[in-house]
């Protein structure tokens, strides 16, 4: 079977690293859409699933440096052979080209914000005062996080709120498709927010290949 990692536009060279199970990476192009794949005898076992998934991610990541646009394929997608791969690409060439257009020169950034810890009251307060203070604090946090989301969105070409695994109490969990030239601006905006809001935990990860921005509308 053939395990597909990604589709690439104008891929110069394959990464030197091997694919899953140590098999060499291979490429195959149909109408300007290059599929990057390797051959496997069997799908991942339960024991190797996590490591294989991480290895799949590493291959897609390496392709990001070598192509003008990359469409990551979800881990676990396989086709029977080259003919099936070609047929699958031929049926969707127009869709893939549009998708290349959408993600070209962009990376994905993931942002999570949650309340770091429950604040300690410094002086004894009545229950009503406490609840009032908590509610006010909660609404201030919401407003701050909404404003952060707007600021990062303004630097992005697209935003995905389609959630991943959420942290308990997560106030924001979003992915942004950001042009590479705006990466530093996005980092600065987030760092300034983190510095200004010590009661909030802010974790910004990436740059990722645009996994969250390649799915076709159902």
């Amino acid at each position: 079977m053939i395990h597909v990692y990604a589709f690439a536009e104008e891929l110069d060279e394959l990464p030197e690293s091997a694919g899953l199970d140590g098999a060499p990476l291979e490429r195959r192009s149909v109408d300007g859409v290059t599929a990057v794949f390797s051959r496997r005898a069997a799908p991942s076992s339960q024991e190797s699933l996590r490591d294989d998934a991480l290895a799949h991610g590493a291959v897609v990541d390496a392709l990001m440096e070598r192509a003008t646009a990359v469409l990551p394929v979800r881990f676990g997608e396989v086709v029977a052979d080259e003919a099936a791969l070609d047929a699958s690409v031929e049926a969707r060439v127009a869709t893939f080209r549009r998708a290349f257009e959408d993600v070209r020169d962009c990376v994905e950034l993931a942002l999570r914000v949650w309340a770091a810890a429950a604040p300690e009251a410094e002086t004894p307060v009545t229950g009503a005062d406490y609840l009032g203070a908590r509610a006010a604090e909660e609404s201030q946090r919401r407003a701050a996080v909404d404003s952060l989301d707007r600021d990062v969105s303004s630097l992005a070409r697209a935003v995905s709120l389609r959630g991943g695994t959420a942290a308990p109490g997560e106030l924001l969990g979003a992915a942004y498709l950001v042009p590479r030239r705006r990466l530093d601006d996005a980092r600065r905006v987030v760092q300034a927010f983190a510095d200004a809001h010590e009661g909030l935990t802010v974790v910004f990860t990436g740059p990722w290949p645009p996994f969250s921005f390649v799915e076709e509308p159902a």
Binding site: P43, L49, A53, R74, A166, T201, T205, W208, E215
Partner: protein, 67 residues
């Protein structure tokens, strides 16, 4: 996985974000997944536990857990 030094908050969330993307997002070619849903669920159970634990940590000055 080393237990000598706890991975930083950022490293842990990065792992979660990566697995979230690779297993759950991206181009769907055929829909004929070779993954057993139960196996994917197992990976996710681990992630949810990890995320629940990191969410309760307060990052120190360099993003490492404070305690």
């Amino acid at each position: 996985m080393s237990t000598v030094e706890a991975p930083s908050l950022r490293e842990q969330v990065t792992l979660i974000d990566l697995v979230d993307r690779v297993l759950n997002k991206g181009v769907v070619l055929t829909g004929d997944l070779t993954l057993a849903v139960a196996d994917v669920d197992l990976v996710y159970v681990g992630l949810r536990v990890l995320l629940a634990s990191v969410a309760t940590l307060e990052p120190g000055p360099e993003g490492a857990p404070a305690t």
